[in-house]
Each structure stands twice: as structure tokens, then as C-alpha cells.
Amino acid sequence: MTVTTPGSREDTDREQGVPFVSATWLVAEREMTTFLRMKGFWIGLGVLVVGLFALAVLPSVFGGGQTSVAAAGPRAAEALAGAELDVRQVADAREAERLVRAEEVEAAVVPDATGESATGVRVVALTETPSDVVRALSTSPPVDLLEPADVSEGQRQVAIMVFALVFLLCGMGGAAIAQSTVTEKQTRVVEILVATVPVRALLAGKILGHSLLNLGQVVVLAVAAPIALNLGGHERLLSVIAPALGWFVPFLCLGFVLLAAMWAVAGALVSRQEDLGSSMSLAMLLVMGPYFGVMFFSDNATVLTVLSFVPFSSAVAMPVRLFIGQAQLWEPLVALGVLAATVVLIVLLASRVYSGSLLQTRGKVALSQAWARQD
């Protein structure tokens, strides 16, 4: 082969065709088996699933479970009738107060002796005003909601947090690519790899392997989430969250590939694990940014709309908007298209930088240097 132009190696790669695919798969397979054998991987996944179940089933988190109230006297019982409270009848006000002090009930409703109360009852509680008891006793005007929300504010916050958190965990999971790349550089195994398979197959294999690993985890979570919600008695929330969850998976997959390419470059630019911190900051920013952006601006429709189209943050912002019911059907499709186009672009750029820096096993490689180098 007359090796006078940088591109000529790729031409021969293309002639071979099949080895590229099989090499990519072999690299991916090795990455996956390595990680599946790590205890940390399983512990991390276990913590996630347990956390999800805890979040859904532990009633206090969703404000579930009824407040227990001691009712003294017939007027109190009458006032509380029909309220969604756990009412215990007691003999008199003193007995009710004793139960409150003993924290056996959260509040007590006793007859009002002073005449201050219009309803003729008083509410006794320990430290805080029991708002749900007060609400049950007061008469509110009827409200007509024109567009009733399907989920409560609390549930909404929790769901947004879960979306953002899964994105964050997945994105950080990509750091494994940087680690595996720098390990290959540090142990010098990279030279044999480069001599054997095209550099692009190496990069593609790493991205594929780790994408499958993360996708597998997302699928586990996506299967566990409905089960957990059902167990916790949140069928209603489930029916709202399910479509958003369906959109979340493709967004997360593409978003992961995008971040994976960034992580791979971060790993290729340095030669030792110790130096990884300095090159990872950009990738970290691109993971943390969308996470905090969505967490902070979940109430700001304008910011959220912008975030839901920007490639890096769209992976989490668009599913959140779908969940809140802000987005039309065309919007996730457009955002997905923008994301896919960015993935292609970034992966191409990354593979050039990756090839240019992979064999530089001494010190840190400047981005410009990696870009210019075509060996």
C-alpha cells in the first residue's frame, strides 16, 4: 500500500467491511464482560432498583397514608365524617390530648368551650398545624378546574427528579469509557489493538458495549418502575408516567451515545488514570448541566422548552415536558432528530480526535494536536 495520504488506511478498512463489524462487536463484548464481572456494577444497579421501590412504596415519600385523628364528642365526629382521615373516637378532650401527647395520633378534634369556633370544635396538635385536618374541617368554595392535572405537585417533582437522576447516573456511567480508554493507553495494550483493528472499530465497540450496558440498566429500571408504582398503589401516576417513560428510553439511548463519544475523547487525551480528572471536566459539565437545568427550571416553561431541544439536555428535558403534558407530539420527534444528527456529527469529530491521541502515550495531548495528527 502506498501510504502517502492519511486517508488511505480507511479505504482499505472499507474494502474489508466485515472485519470492522466483527471487530466492533468483539471490543464491545470484552467491555461488557469486564463490567458485568465487576461487583460495583451490580451493587450500583441493586441500589438503584431498591431506591426506586423505596421511593414508590414508602408511603411518606408520596404523602400517602391517612392522618390519624382522635375525635372527642359527637360534634367532632360529625365534623370529621366523610373526611379521608383515620378517625378514632375517644371519650373526652383530656383523653384526646393524652393521645396527641403520646403521639399515638397526629391531631385531635375536641369540642370548643370558648365559643371562638364557628364549627364548635377545636383542633389540638403537638408542634405543627395539621393542615389536612384543618382542610377537612373548613368549608372551601367549589372549584372548577378547566384542565385538571393528572398528578399532584409532589408526584410531579418526584417524577422529574427520577428522570433527571437516571440521566445523571447514565451519563456518569459513561465515565467507564474514559477509564477503559485510559487503561488501554496506560498499559500500552493500545498499540496491539491499533495494529490489529481499525481505530474507529475500537471507538465504536466501546460506545456500543457501554451503551448496551446502560440500556440494559435502563430497561431493568423501566420494568421495575411500573411494578414499584403498582405496589405502592400509584396506578394513576403510572398511567401518566408510562408514555413519558416510553419516550425517555430512545432519548436516553441517543443522549448516552453523545456523551459516550465525549467520554472516549476525555480518556484518549491523557495517558494515566491520575490525569483523567483534568480532561473529564467538559464531559462532566455536559452531564451535570442538563441535570441541574431540568431540576431548577422544571417550573419555567420557556427555559424547559429551550432545554428540550438542545441536544445534550433534550434527553432529559423533553421526556419531562412530555410528562408534565407541555409538549405536542411533533416536539419530541424534532428533538430526537436534532439529537440524532448531533450524535452523528460528534461521533465523527470524536473519532478523529480519538485516533489522533490514542498512540500518544506520554503526558497529556492538546485537543488541537490530536485534531491535527493523522497517523
Binding site: M1, V3, P19, E191, L359, Q374
Partner: protein
Amino acid sequence: MLRLTTISRSFGDLRALDEVSFDVRPGRMTGFLGANGSGKTTAMRIILGVLAAHGGTVIWQGEPVTQGVRRRFGYMPEERGLYPKMKVAEQIAWFGRLHGLTPEAARANTDRLLEQLALTERAGDKLEALSLGNQQRVQIAAALVHDPVALILDEPFSGLDPIAVETVLAVLRDRAAAGVPVLFSSHQLAVVERLCDDVVIISNGSIAASGGRDELRARYGTARFELVVDTDAGWLRDLPGVRVIELDGPRALFEPAGHSQPGRQVLETALRRGEVRSFTPVVPTLDEIFKEAI
């Protein structure tokens, strides 16, 4: 046959290789000699396609080498390294598959190589658990697992203990005998001297000498003789056409001065003067060729 024709390569202003041409013949061990920084590793990386050449061609069996052909080469880089956390047998087999073997063939070749390299007992251990010498053997196995059509080994014997050198050597000779061209670099002349059939000497990016070991000796070595007699050999100094290099009592090392051929005359004189214990031509070592060539 593997042939390099006028390969050049620069790094910035530094010309690392300048129109380097040489052959690696099938069935022969070719030693690639040169000081550190003379261009050995760069040339090997270009053969493997790890580095691009700025000019020239690598030819395999008469055709410019392709990536597909390179995949069937075996390569051991100067900077050793494998995956520390992967198990030995698994790792070798994985490299075999990366080179295009089927899983079954990769496993079979791995078992055979581990046997040959006396590593069978360590097959299930993680690489990092092995001693450095054993890790080197695993490295050799990784370069050989796919039955390479050519072997390019950068300093294969550095870091090996004498027993390991013999083990590895036996494996390499085996491959050469099967018709595989083997190119290995070394800065240890004695090693190359003992092992190689052909020698390529590189200096500052240019080939200083190349050819069969014996041919090179004949070409570069001056015809020296060693004479041992039973009395003092001091008379040799007075003989015309003779330049004495070393004189130690009855033993003398000499070479012809100018274009004379004094061997016969020296022997006859010595026999006239008394007993001749020995009279032998001294073959130059590669060390001497090396110093002369560069």
C-alpha cells in the same frame, strides 16, 4: 516475503526514516539492529500500519500490504502491555478472535501456545497475578495466537530470563521453520548474533548494512588470524605485510597490512621456527560489523 521499499517518515523536522529498504525473507530470522532512536520502532510501526509512512511502500508477497493482510501479522510492540485484569487464556483467545479466528480455533491455539510456553497452569489466572517474565511469555502468545503469516517483534527478548529466552526462541524458530518471515529488533548484538540468519543494521534512520549474517561478516570483517606457537611470537612484528593487533607471549592476533595476503607466509615462517599450536581465521563479531557499518 515482506519488503520495505524507500520508506520515509518524519516527525516535525526530525527525519526518523530516510528511504529505508530491506527484505524480511520467509523461513528466516531477521535481526534488526540499531542504537536507541535509530528508527527501528518507527519502521516496525509502519509495517503494522500503526504509523503512516510519508513515502515508500510496504510490500507483502509482491503486492502493497493491505489492512486485511496486516491483521494476519503478529506484532509485539516495544512497550509491552495487555489487559491486567483479564485472565491469561481468555485474553490470548480474545486477541486470536480479534485477528479473525473462530472461537474454537482461538481456544485450541491458545491451549497449544500455553503448553509450548509452559504457562498451562496459569491459564485461569489474571495477567496481573503473573511475574513479569511470565507476562512476557503471555505477550508472545498474544502475538502468535492467530498463526501469523509474518512476525514483527520489537525487542522480544528484553526482560526475559535465560530460560524464558530459550523457550521463546524455540517457539520463534518453530514459526520460522514453517516458512514465516520473522523480523525482530534488538540492541543486544550478542542475541542477534546467535539467533538471526539475516541482519539489517539501521543508523539514524538509514539502512547501514543488510544481508545474510555470514555474508555481512565476509563483507565487513577484515581477514584476521590468530596464531599460537610454542615460544614467543614477537618475530611476527618484523614480517612485512603483517599488522599485529595483539601480542601476548606465544599468542598473536594479526591482519594483513594493505592488500597483501600474508597468511601462507606467516604459517610457513612459524613452522620453520618451531611448533604451531593453532592457526585460525578470526570471524568478526556483529559488534565489529556494527561499529564499522554505522
